[in-house]
């Protein structure tokens, strides 16, 4: 069994991301991988915050691999990803660490396969039923172009029952059709899958994405 840690941004993601990672791990033949949220940070673009997080992971002493999963809203993942990876690499951790920047945010994953989520029954983290997305919901276009994916999603919820990340992120993640997400060719989802493969395939220290030397 492998023990893996993930750093996320928000409260909703704290519940949703382990669900997504367990499913993706199973698809890669790693049903044994145990993903645990080790922290919520929204300052991972700061060197000091990344270094502190690395030190925390090192001191745990039981980490087989880690993932730093952050939103990159107005950033550029091709620039920001390697930069953060370089900071991590300097820490010389004895286990693999992958950095995945969601461009632009976690909800971008939902937009990329919105039609497959439309009308599906949703329950909140505590089993209470939630209003489903409008069964007619469709999103055409590039999900990454939209700065406010939450706002777009919200258009497909009843006005009195808006999209709330703390209650909906896990519900929608559970309902995600991973094949549809792959078929959407959303770049940051591809990066996430490559990051997981890297973490599973690397035995000692190493960082993904590769840093420039």
């Amino acid at each position: 069994m492998g023990r893996f840690y993930v750093v996320v941004e928000g409260q909703g993601e704290e519940l949703a991301v382990p669900n997504l990672l367990h499913r993706l791990s199973a698809d890669m033949g790693r049903e044994d991988a145990m993903w645990m949220v080790v922290g919520r940070r929204n300052a991972m673009k700061q060197r000091s915050a990344v270094e502190a997080q690395c030190e925390d992971l090192r001191r745990r002493g039981d980490c087989d691999g880690a993932l730093l999963l952050q939103d990159d809203e107005d950033g550029c993942p091709r620039v920001d990803g390697p930069r953060i990876a370089a900071w991590v690499a300097e820490q010389r951790l004895p286990f693999p660490v992958a950095i995945t920047l969601l461009y632009r945010e976690y909800e971008t994953l939902f937009l990329a396969c919105l039609s497959t989520l439309a009308g599906k029954a949703l329950t909140d983290p505590y089993g209470r039923q939630l209003h489903p997305i409008d069964p007619a919901a469709r999103f055409d276009g590039d999900p990454q172009r939209h700065r406010d994916a939450k706002g777009v999603l919200n258009q497909f919820f009843p006005a009195k029952h808006p999209y709330r990340p703390t209650t909906h992120q896990l519900a929608l993640t559970r309902a995600l059709d991973l094949e549809a997400l792959r078929a959407s060719a959303l770049p940051c989802f591809g990066t996430l899958e490559r990051a997981l493969r890297f973490v599973f395939a690397t035995r000692d220290g190493g960082v993904y994405p590769p840093t420039e030397r």
């Binding site: 928000g10 409260q11 909703g12 919520r40 929204n42 300052a43 673009k45 700061q46 909140d124 983290p125 505590y126 209470r128 939630l130 919200n154 009195k160 029952h161 808006p162 999209y163 709330r164 990340p165 703390t166 209650t167």
Partner: protein, 405 residues
């Protein structure tokens, strides 16, 4: 919808204090600043105007604040208020000037109501700003007064834009009353009626858990009151769909919460929080519930009101709420602010980190005067560049207001 409140010389507030809601959603303003900077006084200005708009309310509103001298900032002789509201293409501006009358009385020194197309707003604002920086006798020290003067200047050419102008030479019987409330008409679409309806439903919440523990008398008051002493009545009337939304939010804080209900107890009401464990559900009356759960329940009730108040202001929403649950508050504040102006005051860096930086206003007190301004360009740059989050900045150094206002 209320667009702005401009205030001068009310309690600690200086001559140019504005709470300005963005025309684009979210309509959210978050006041951040040190203790004693004037955040509560800024919120109280909204409450003062609502109290003043009630029948014979102005005298009571002044008395509740210790009389006119206590209401005025030290060394000043007039308090000014201007409310701006936008309804479609109509821009409605109501101005009020209060000051002492004789030894220990007070009077409405000026009251004016203007209607204009919203497209002239920027031009009028610019003209008012110019008179703050004019030379000699032309110079006006208070922005609300300058705004009224700029509108009055326009009204000389566009006579129909002036709906009301009342000065201190009115009959004595009217000296302690707002004239706009007397002009309220049966037609709810008249500017006077719209403005009065807006003032009536300004909601400014200061919530103390102890107030929420005792059984409450039944109340027909439609809106949740400032201290939520009618919370259980509002909860009782809440449609099941809204109650489900409330429960979902509370459930994110208190995972074992399965139901929130209100039960009659004589002519009082009691709120019961039902928790669940492996042995089943068990009731916890409000008097035994935690401070944070009670406050959050009331804040979510306030934010879910339908129809909503014209403004929802909450003083320090983070009090007694677990720091990791701030995102639940954010999830109810932001959707409400898409359609209803929301005003918060806070000391919580964790809450600030979850809200748009554009919504933050720095409340500062220097030279005995409170100012309310956007974040300085330097500090804004630090946040935009990821050097600090807003919460980290709050810890690292005092927040700085933008010198340009």
């Amino acid at each position: 919808m209320i667009r702005a409140l401009h205030i001068a010389n009310f309690r600690s507030l200086g001559g140019d204090v504005s709470v300005d809601f963005s025309a684009r959603a979210p309509h959210l303003v978050v006041l951040a600043g040190a203790n004693g900077a004037g955040k509560s006084n800024t919120l109280d200005a909204f409450r003062f105007l609502r109290n003043a708009a009630a029948p014979r309310g102005l005298t009571a509103a002044v008395q509740q604040r210790g009389g006119m001298q206590a209401l005025l900032r030290h060394g000043t002789s007039r308090a000014h208020f201007v409310v701006e509201a936008v309804f479609g293409e109509d821009w409605i501006v109501w101005g009020l000037e209060l000051g002492p009358w004789g030894v220990d009385d007070f009077a409405v020194w000026d009251e004016a109501l203007f209607t204009n197309p919203v497209e002239v707003r920027d031009e009028i604002h610019e003209r008012a700003r110019q008179s703050l920086h004019a030379e000699g006798d032309e110079r006006v020290l208070e922005f609300p007064k300058a705004l009224v003067q700029a509108l009055a200047g326009r009204a000389q050419h566009e006579a129909h834009t002036l709906r009301l102008r009342v000065g201190p030479d009115v009959a004595e019987s009217r000296r302690h009353e707002l004239s706009v409330t007397a002009l309220r008409r049966a037609d709810p679409s008249s500017p006077e009626s719209r403005l009065c309806a807006l003032l009536d439903s300004l909601a400014v919440y200061s919530l103390a858990p102890d107030m929420l523990r005792s059984p409450q008398l039944r109340s027909a008051e439609p809106l949740l009151t400032d201290h939520a002493d009618n919370w259980m009545s509002v909860l009782l009337r809440m449609p099941p769909d809204d109650r489900a939304e409330l429960l979902a939010g509370l459930g994110a804080l208190v995972p074992d919460l399965v139901e929130l209900r209100v039960e009659p107890a004589g002519d009082h009401l009691v709120a019961i929080f039902e928790h669940g464990d492996v042995q089943g559900a068990y009731p916890v009356p409000a008097n035994r519930e935690s401070d944070g759960t009670l406050r959050t329940a009331v804040m979510l009730t306030a934010l879910l009101q339908d129809p909503p108040p014209s403004l929802i202001a909450i003083e320090e929403p983070e009090l007694a709420v677990h720091v990791r649950a701030m995102s639940v508050l954010r999830d109810y504040i932001l959707p409400r602010a898409m359609t209803t102006p929301v005003l918060l005051s806070t000391h919580s860096g964790d809450l600030l980190d979850l809200l748009p930086v554009d919504s933050v206003r720095v409340v500062d007190r220097a030279g005995g005067q409170t100012s309310v301004r956007g974040l300085s360009a330097r500090q804004r740059g630090l946040v935009d560049d990821g050097v600090f989050t807003l919460g980290q900045l709050l810890l690292a150094q005092p927040l700085e207001g933008d010198a340009r206002g």
